[in-house]
Symmetry: C4
Subunit: 202 residues, 4 copies
Amino acid sequence: VGTGRLETFSDGVFAIAITLLILEIRPPEDFSHLARGLLDLWPSYAAYAASFLLIGGVWVNHHAMFRRIARADRWLLLLNLLLLLDVAFLPFPTAVLAEALREGEGEVVACVLYGATLTIGGVFFNSLWAYAASHGGRLLRPEVAPAAARGVGRRFVVGPTAYAIATLLAFASPWASLAVFVALTLFYLVEGAEDRRGRPAG
Amino acid sequence: VGTGRLETFSDGVFAIAITLLILEIRPPEDFSHLARGLLDLWPSYAAYAASFLLIGGVWVNHHAMFRRIARADRWLLLLNLLLLLDVAFLPFPTAVLAEALREGEGEVVACVLYGATLTIGGVFFNSLWAYAASHGGRLLRPEVAPAAARGVGRRFVVGPTAYAIATLLAFASPWASLAVFVALTLFYLVEGAEDRRGRPAG
Amino acid sequence: VGTGRLETFSDGVFAIAITLLILEIRPPEDFSHLARGLLDLWPSYAAYAASFLLIGGVWVNHHAMFRRIARADRWLLLLNLLLLLDVAFLPFPTAVLAEALREGEGEVVACVLYGATLTIGGVFFNSLWAYAASHGGRLLRPEVAPAAARGVGRRFVVGPTAYAIATLLAFASPWASLAVFVALTLFYLVEGAEDRRGRPAG
Amino acid sequence: VGTGRLETFSDGVFAIAITLLILEIRPPEDFSHLARGLLDLWPSYAAYAASFLLIGGVWVNHHAMFRRIARADRWLLLLNLLLLLDVAFLPFPTAVLAEALREGEGEVVACVLYGATLTIGGVFFNSLWAYAASHGGRLLRPEVAPAAARGVGRRFVVGPTAYAIATLLAFASPWASLAVFVALTLFYLVEGAEDRRGRPAG
């Protein structure tokens, strides 16, 4: 499979997963106090926005990575499928997190599930790049210099480490943990997009 | 990210969000009086059609806008993601609105939620264009004249203003508010499409 | 909007609507008699297959139509959106029909709802072609001869008429009505595909 | 319909079906013992991963097949639609299997339903290739030698046979059956991808 098809398929999964997030938000039961009921759903809105921007960030960084990859072999394909498996899983921890915050019970566990999903996704993302850049970068485009490839790898590896630390932070304070998740998401979204400025449109 | 990928991804989200709307309509409980039960669901059908045409209109106008944009930088990407976040959110207020009309309770609040979603979407849409056209239009295609860009901006800015007024109207009469939402949707759908006539197919 | 984008967007909606059909089938409640419970769901399987092939048939015929259309104006866009609105609505009557057959109640009403959705879809499909071929076929490709355009129109117009008759048949016998729906679906699926044989791949 | 459109539509259905799998996993009821509740859902996670990789494998092998097919006629289209019908059906047996394992009831029946879906999918997959390669391979690309076409057919035909045997194995032991399903899925995923190595990107 050429990377063209791989990217189109991945984009499809990103677009579907990002749009399915809304299905986890259900109208309140009691319509006689609708304003109250809608306000009580605020953790769902926050979790929706956080996961939406997170998947958006994965999409942006996935492109940044694949613009440097020339060919796909079977292991790259499998690693990419594992990354998609993690991204498509995200609506579940998002729903669990929103409900835990709403019920005021199980926040630590929900936070750990959410953080673990992000951390594992980061590990797959890094494995993908590490594999593509291995053996002298034989899957990379010729114009990607080895030093640049190592730089990209170093930049990417910070992600899962930071997500893992933020996940552990949940045991001390779920709110601190969530704040770090959101900060990391925004950082990767804007930083990943940055990389693209001034390059020819893909 | 070039605008090509950005548009394909956005189209995917529009197509998925528009098709997910149907999941909010559930078969009635009582099948011994099915005709009655199906007729009682009329607010769901109306809300489905209204939101379907609304997303269709956003799709049309999104293309009209991006045909004038040559390049995307990180902030444009982020603003576009915020617009998609709002569009993908729409199935939720649609479901709330349909249920409020069906239950005859909470119509004002449901109408305000629906209108606020449309208004915020309009604000993101305008921010997208304002940003792209800023700094002498450096992200625009060279053939877009500054005067034309300002004209487009003026045309777009009417949208969120009108949606905001229609939202406030809900406090006086939810039905008047809904009538204006539908009228605005049809206007932008046809007017956005208009713009395209006689131009080379994209 | 050029027809390229219009077709891609329509294909997306077709692919999503066809795949969402499965969400209407729910696992049985009682797992101690699972085989029995799964067999009792047969109307859901039948309705799933019928609607799946129907949307597949619309997809095939939609392409056959758009291969003859060169340009889209605002009214063509609106008519196409109305057709998509009808196709994306289909999971709902499919679920109602399956449940009516399973409960043994409301079959006539469910059949009429299903048939009405197909008939209205057929009317939009025909309106699309009639509009594209009107005014001397100004939206058609130049190589489509006026006589051929009229022939296509005559072939398409049989569809909603046949679906309307099959819908009325439900008042006499829902089963006869369903048999005709399935027969028509298979006919249009294979007949629409036929048309394409030996032509250059699109 | 040329195979280009056919492949794009099929890719869309694969991407949607693979992403919808997550909707079958629901947050636990009791948030006061959330860790326990999440762990009890392990059959859902396993079934999600197994079906995700399975659809991924179908996607990979579908491309491997269509890279050898030059043209589509109406019967090829119909056979492909039947294959998609089977793939899009998969979220249902996946949900049934997960629930049976969780409830500790109905595992044999659930396993047979799951295996039957895989087996029938394999039969459609093989019919597709058998049809394309029939009559002297008139639908194949000219560069595909008859001996190579027969080799591909032999390789593909092992699939449904193995899935059928694994399905029957469920009557002796559902767990043994599931282990074989997973092994076959991984084999076809990696083996299908293998085939692609070193070829020009598609």
